[in-house]
């Protein structure tokens, strides 16, 4: 356990020194501050428009961070062979993967805390307020990004950095489209096809279930237990990917 925390702490230190992190943070901060102007330009519903743009900026910055820092973290170490320094120490390869995932999760959390701070200040400036719904929306974006980080880590164990980045973006796109699979229409094409479609939709991630931004901003009721279900689903999915990465990385010939 201690070795996992050591790797996590090391990964966290390494990522917060990464220039990409600061570029993404600056981008998010600029968009969030600019969203005050977007709110003003919308003439009506200033707070809602600002909230929507702010949450979208947090989501996009989280995604960029998860993909580029997540993929680069293991891939760059393998390609530059600095992973050997860690591999020769009495640390299991599974611990390296789990530690890297935890470290990246912490970096993502720090990113969200900082952007949330910008968001809150911007919201207060235009007379809005922070409520539980907004906090839940930010929390779910973070969980969604944990799944993306786990996927980035998984792909970087099986291929090089560029391909892993492309596969992670593909994973995100499939995850966002998964919600559109129409199981009722599939039923009309026969039970075999319906079963196949259902299996595919269950295996692929459903990233749309982490997106409650519009419900929160436009005060649409959210089903009881939906947020808890989404968090559990995200943690479970990320855990599955981290386990798969650990297994593949343990057997990998470095």
């Amino acid at each position: 356990m201690r070795e996992i925390f050591l790797v996590a702490a090391n990964t966290f230190r390494e990522t917060i020194r990464n220039k990409v992190l600061y570029n993404i943070l600056i981008f998010a901060a600029i968009v969030i501050v600019l969203s005050i102007s977007f709110g003003e330009w919308s003439v009506f519903a200033r707070v809602q428009v600002m909230q929507d743009f702010g949450l979208a900026a947090m989501s996009i910055s989280g995604l960029l961070l998860a993909v580029f820092v997540g993929v680069g973290m293991l891939g760059a170490e393998v390609s530059s062979r600095t992973i050997y320094q860690m591999a020769v120490k009495p640390i299991s390869r599974a611990s390296i993967i789990v530690g890297k995932f935890l470290g990246l999760s912490l970096t993502l959390m720090l990113n969200f805390l900082l952007t949330a701070l910008f968001f809150t200040v911007s919201l207060l400036v235009i007379g809005g307020s922070v409520n539980a719904g907004l906090c839940a929306a930010v929390l779910l974006i973070w969980v969604q990004m944990l799944v993306i980080v786990a996927a980035a880590l998984f792909f970087s164990t099986i291929t090089n950095t560029t391909v892993a980045a492309m596969l992670t973006i593909g994973f995100y796109l499939i995850g966002m489209f998964n919600d559109l699979l129409d199981l009722d229409k599939a039923q009309q094409l026969g039970p075999l096809f319906a079963g196949l479609i259902k299996a595919v939709s269950m295996i692929l991630p459903n990233l749309a279930c982490f997106d409650i931004r519009s419900q929160v901003v436009y005060e649409i009721a959210i089903q009881n237990g939906f947020i808890a279900y989404s968090i559990l689903y995200g943690i479970f999915y990320a855990a599955m990917l981290v386990c798969a990465s650990a297994i593949i990385f343990s057997r990998k010939d470095l």
Partner: protein, 217 residues
């Protein structure tokens, strides 16, 4: 020294870009004039929604901002609002819970364009989304029917919908009754007023309804 050289290079490139832009503007004669408006990027259908990957409402908000900028610039300019209906329409299709767009469709579209039926369609979409939550939407349709389309019967029906809302103002109830009687439905007007009188709790509202019943008799 290297840093200074880099900064000088960046400034030189920026200055060259600005100069190129300026001279191109002068050559084409467009510098300082109103920019050419481009609407080819505005989607014509809400079918684009799945491609927006969860940023549907954000994109709708962006389009709404463009709608407001378009409205503002033309309001102070040539008063040509031919893109306004399509822009408001797509905003409400992509973000059906964006209430200001329906208010804009109900109030400003009939004022700025002559596409009254399209404005009505947008407001009707709002009624479907919000139901009785937004009392003013059927009122706006009634006003379009009455003042623009001169269809008193249709106006009466929408005004009655607005007036039946528990939050309806007394003037809406009186207006609905007037419109019903003007469209030769005096009995229906009286029936509606009696029902409204029964359901009203505010004494001032009850008094206003009673006065209207007396005037119809």
């Amino acid at each position: 020294m290297r840093g200074i050289m880099r900064a000088v290079s960046v400034i030189t490139i920026l200055a060259a870009l600005f100069a190129a832009q300026f001279s191109f503007g002068r050559m084409t004669g467009s510098f300082g004039k109103e920019k050419l408006e481009m609407f080819s990027d505005i989607p014509v259908s809400e079918k684009i929604a799945p491609l927006l990957l969860g940023y549907k409402t954000t994109y709708a908000n962006y389009l709404w901002i463009r709608t407001m900028l378009y409205f503002g610039s033309h309001y102070h300019g040539n008063k040509d609002f031919h893109e306004l209906v399509a822009m408001t329409d797509i905003v409400t299709k992509l973000n059906p819970r964006f209430y200001p767009a329906y208010e804009f469709a109900g109030l400003m579209l009939p004022e700025c364009t002559d596409r009254y039926n399209e404005a009505k369609t947008i407001v009707k979409r709002g009624i479907t989304v919000f139901g009785s939550e937004k009392i003013m939407l059927p009122f706006y349709i009634a006003m379009i029917d009455l003042n623009r389309l001169h269809d008193t019967a249709e106006a009466a029906s929408y005004m009655m919908t607005a007036a039946k809302n528990p939050m309806a103002k007394p003037y809406m109830i009186k207006l609905a009754a007037t419109l019903l009687s003007k469209s030769n439905k005096v009995n229906l007007a009286k029936e509606f007023l009696y029902d409204s009188y029964e359901s009203a709790e505010n004494p001032a509202v009850k008094r206003a309804i009673l006065d209207k019943i007396k005037s119809l008799n």
